[in-house]
Amino acid sequence: MKGLISAVTSSKRLSKTAALACLGLSGLALSSTTLAEQTLNLYNWGDYINPEVIERFTAETGIKVTLDTYSSNEEMLAKLQAGATGYDIIFPSVHMQDVMTSLNMLEKTNINKAPGFENILKDHLIAESDPKGEYCLPYAWGSVGIVYNKKLVPELNSWQEFFALPSQGKKITLLDDMREDIGIGLIMNGKNVNSTDSQDLKAAQQFLLDQKPNISALTYDTIPMVQSGDIAAGHYYVGAMMYVNEDPDTLAYVIPKEGATMYQEDMCVLKSAPNKSNARKFMEFFLQPEISAMNTIQQTNGSVNKAAISLLPAAMRDNPNMNPPVETMEKLQVFKDLGKGIKLYDRVWTKFRTAS
């Protein structure tokens, strides 16, 4: 990465002549953006915002919004680090926000002083680099639990019950994700999912290796298999609720009582943002409970805004797996960037993947 950055800066110095040569072309390309007066450029995960929210924002403020999409944190970081500019607001996961803060890529917005910020649940100000919300606005979150077929498994509440299913001849799957799977091993041993202690990881590894013969697959295609009954239960994201709502007689989603992991994305403004004041306006707009709720309902994920939660339909608000009570929230852990500690995880993951 460092090489990449220095390559960018040195090519900046070297390419003055090239820049001159290209001035004509870039002028041509630039004119299209500078002519439009008020714009805001969002860079988000695919289908991760309700288009109605954007329409409402444009209708109220007259600011034209563009939306481009990415499919992973790393992809987004790589592109921005190589020097792509023009984007105002990005939606990194919490650990990526920490990375980007340390790379000095995020703008301090003081969004915590904005009206309505008092509605943001303190449980969701979890970025280590931004404990007070001076930079980013918590956007949405979700847990990673178990989705199961109610016709095969009438009730499921814990990881223990989940891992006991194979002994009754019922199949289970885990996600094909290193941090998530090792996270289960750590949770089952009562450890932190960001532990880099080799004893903790050894215990997690032992747990996973003991389960390995019982796990039918490591996969993300859990929903169709559970819905059809090929698999009784699978490790999956809260996004499963979307399918559960569709087919409530067959499917159910649960946050296991031992605890689970969670993910969260925050709304951040880039240092290189060309429309910082419009970005700030969008953040303030999104702080309105009504707007935040509108987004949560369409996305079927977790809300970080307590005033918005009260506006949710009862089916979402009163579902302990979508809007968990405090006791459950305390058992959800979020991943952090591990730095060099990730090597220990790599080793456990290889052992687990290759075990039979």
């Binding site: 390419s15 870039s26 041509l28 390309a29 995960w45 288009p51 020097g83 169709p224 819905q227 569709e246």
Partner: protein, 279 residues
């Protein structure tokens, strides 16, 4: 007699193998088409019932799908991405075809220093890994201060599409008798007239074939485009890739089916023009 016997034995085996090979090649494509008629709004792999709704949706019609709470409406974005893709492909194809054809003619008709090396350089963008080319182009555009957008994608695509056109047109030129051009000159035509009236009509099938190939490759490119696309210039493949986390809707299958039909038309036209003997 033994060869005849062997042939008798082998022929059915070979046909069977051929049929299996084609099945392997086309089964996934057929699945995409079949599932584009699936009415399940959230999970495209579970068959609900037959519907044309996804196609109606794409063309702006009203369907009951929009009332489904779990359906995420991003048709506008999808169509915008398709529009960007078509614009980029059209502009890149025109530019690459002009550049590639003139390069091919120059390489075939003139001798100059380091010609072999130059020819080699033309092959490099085709064999270079996309990710390397993508990052390199991004760093170049940023360093040179070129705004990332439709224009940068077009320039980026031209870097490798020119090579494709060059190769297709070169092959056509190699099969052409250079004496015809000399004859044209003998009859008093200048170089431009010779190119316009003699060379171009003869290599036209190659030029059109190269252009159609460029168009399809440009429509299809994901990795390079991802890096060099800027604000509001998401192309269709980049958009579809972005949907991975949320899950892909049958709507994508519908648009894939339409593109497939479109590709088959273009590809057949390409094959027709490439194989047609110039009269």
């Amino acid at each position: 007699m033994t060869t005849a016997f062997l042939r008798k034995l082998f022929n059915p085996l070979l046909s069977g193998y051929g049929a299996l090979f084609m099945l392997f090649l086309y089964a996934p494509v057929i699945l995409v088409v079949v599932y584009s008629f699936n009415s399940n709004p959230v999970n495209l792999m579970i068959w609900d019932h037959f519907t044309f709704d996804w196609y109606i949706n794409l063309f702006g019609g009203d369907t009951p799908l929009k009332d489904d709470i779990s359906y995420v409406d991003s048709t506008d974005q999808l169509l915008a991405a398709l529009g960007t893709s078509l614009t980029v492909a059209a502009l890149a194809t025109i530019t690459a075809t002009v550049l590639g054809t003139s390069t091919a003619v120059a390489m075939a008709r003139y001798r100059f220093r380091m010609q072999g090396f130059y020819r080699l350089l033309l092959f490099v963008p085709m064999v270079m890994p996309d990710i390397v080319l993508g990052i390199a182009l991004l760093i170049f555009f940023v360093g040179a201060g070129i705004h990332l957008g439709v224009i940068s994608i077009v320039i980026g695509h031209c870097t490798f599409l020119t090579s494709y056109v060059f190769i297709v047109v070169s092959a056509r030129l190699a099969g052409m008798n250079p004496l015809i051009e000399s004859a044209s000159a003998d009859l008093g035509a200048n170089e431009w007239q010779t190119f316009r009236r003699v060379t171009l009509p003869l290599i036209l099938p190659g030029v059109i074939g190269g252009a159609l190939l460029s168009f399809i490759i440009s429509m299809d490119d994901l990795v390079i485009t991802y890096f060099i696309s800027g604000v509001d210039s998401t192309t269709l493949p980049v958009f579809i890739m972005g949907l991975i986390r949320r899950g892909i809707k049958p709507e994508i299958n519908a648009i894939a089916t339409l593109m497939l039909v479109f590709s088959i038309v273009i590809a057949s036209a390409g094959i027709y023009f490439k194989s047609r003997n110039a009269d």
